[in-house]
Symmetry: C2
Subunit: 399 residues, 2 copies
Amino acid sequence: MFDSNALFSKAFAGLKGNIIRELYQYTSQPGFISFAGGNPSPETFPNEELAEIASKVLKENSIACLQYGVSNGILSLREYIAGQMTEEGVPAKAENVVITSGSQQSMDLLSKAMLNPGDRVLVESPTYVAALKIFGIYGARVEAVASDDEGIIPEALQEKLETGPAKLIYLIPNFQNPTGITLPWERRKRIMEIVKKHNVLVIEDDPYGKLRYSGDPVPHMKTLDEAGQVAYFGSFSKIIAPGLRMAYVVCQEAVARKLVLGKQNNDMHTPNLTQLIVNEYCRRGRLQAHIEECCLVYKKKRDTMLSLLDTHFPKEMRWTRPDGGLFLWSKLPEGYSSMKLLEYAIPAKVAYVPGDSFFADGSGVNTMRLNFSNASKADMEKGIALLGEQIGQYLKDGK
Amino acid sequence: MFDSNALFSKAFAGLKGNIIRELYQYTSQPGFISFAGGNPSPETFPNEELAEIASKVLKENSIACLQYGVSNGILSLREYIAGQMTEEGVPAKAENVVITSGSQQSMDLLSKAMLNPGDRVLVESPTYVAALKIFGIYGARVEAVASDDEGIIPEALQEKLETGPAKLIYLIPNFQNPTGITLPWERRKRIMEIVKKHNVLVIEDDPYGKLRYSGDPVPHMKTLDEAGQVAYFGSFSKIIAPGLRMAYVVCQEAVARKLVLGKQNNDMHTPNLTQLIVNEYCRRGRLQAHIEECCLVYKKKRDTMLSLLDTHFPKEMRWTRPDGGLFLWSKLPEGYSSMKLLEYAIPAKVAYVPGDSFFADGSGVNTMRLNFSNASKADMEKGIALLGEQIGQYLKDGK
């Protein structure tokens, strides 16, 4: 009689894992070289200091660590984040900050608080694959806005907004995932002028912004936000460690209160221990120096990968040269498929993410995302040579 | 132009905080004595050992702690939980276990995977207030099933199931929240016979089951589950510490796979650090002895509260005498309101949870939940005397 398949919700009945998580079955095998994940380099993890801090907070502040906590997050950390944002040109108070268990959860909570089935969400093209999944779970109609090699095109966004109401605009202005592109200041200003005329919330997702290796920083879009129209997503995943699942939203109080209700009814609160560890690390003033160390490591890795691509990738290939972040974006010639290329790459024990899953409209069949932050220099050398070889073979075999 | 209030989803537009979290604004004030929360006693927290373990796993196993992890949870902990369940008469493998960030999240993930708006969910009456909130967010029609002083009435459940399809049945068989009642074995058997004839999933939520201070343990309902129809929710919140946000679901693989997709698109995974801490604590064989220590502490607290109620509560009051867990359930005479009584209790700096919010149908106006696990002996003595006094005053003033 019992048949769970007949019981799943519409959103979950046909839901599949996202491509990055699905590739994990291969990439977790020993000897596999993966450029697929968004993993920071383990050599950057400040594990000795985190160990000392974890022990200290558990000993000295055990009730705060171990008892139930508040759903919006511990006050000291929210104050720290508000202070940082204020320094970065976004005046904020603790009431504007909600601590979450990773930006994935920031996205889930905001989507849940805002989206009814059928609501429109506008996104860059391509955009972060998991965001597309989450918007889809809440039944949103996701529409891709035309983008070029400077990112989303403001006029294309304006046209979309003029055709009818949208609830959310989802943007990753710095070192975008998957393309690595940074949206120029002029476009940020233009977009903020355009959205002012529409009742729509802008998500400024910024997990990589502090990881800049060349060029000048561009101020947050939220520095131009007078109406409280931008929800800024920050994260400690790429600048301390992703396994801690620590992130935050900075937004209008009315929106923050809804996110907190979402937390109450989701996981109640982010673990106090991970919050107190990150808080202590930040309060000691360790974060800025650590980010600088990370940038040194990643700059080298980016430069290594770019030079390896120059050497090993067939001349028909194209790729971006990002100023920061973790990813670059590459294209096979038109008509070739990066999904088909996996049939060459996987047996050679090398992986990347096929790009089509980053497109709301299923285009981008010839694109791929390459991560340069995780692999060691030796693995990168071996892996890019292998991948270049397999691409050469695929191009020779034909579409 | 921007007006976030016009943008919130149907589920969130009118959403309010749950009563326990709302009371926190008072109960967190110094000098306030609260019997409202579900807080375990801080004196039971094994913080010294957790500090040593946290430091050890961060030092010795830093990548596993700090890098991205798998969405279903670390294998060693899933294997440990599967082993425990097998010993308790529920044959399980690691594939049947999903690690979550607290049972609140188990509930959210399962609801999200199963519920379309309008789906029926059957619950005990009264039941856990946050479960009602979560089912409501997913648009479920929640129906209260008649319950008596032994818990939910099997025949009443059968009648409800025969009137039409339901997706979920939500039960807390051990030391129920809020009543403290334990569902007898005969009723568990009868319910499992009844549900076999219907395509419905049973949630067996068991956060308190190991906290038994008198009487004999009753086997899990899931020991009778041949069809994979029961999703068992376990939690470390009440037997290690709630601030770690560590819990799990044991269920059919098909259901587990959907929950894992939910995790992927929610918080990606529970923090590896908290998982590894709990895993190490359990693998050292420390949990069983610790549970025994907790039971000694809580037995004393329960007995103290029962004896204080005998002394201080007006003779018109009734209350349960639970064999375990954290709560007992008390009733004012018919016609009186425990919400109104808060107007006496709050100024006297003592709190409990008014019972009506635990009822899907808004009944139970004269009921209240009292927590006996958190307050110190001195606070309990003072608080129950104060509360008894205020009840006396309210009864004298009249409805």
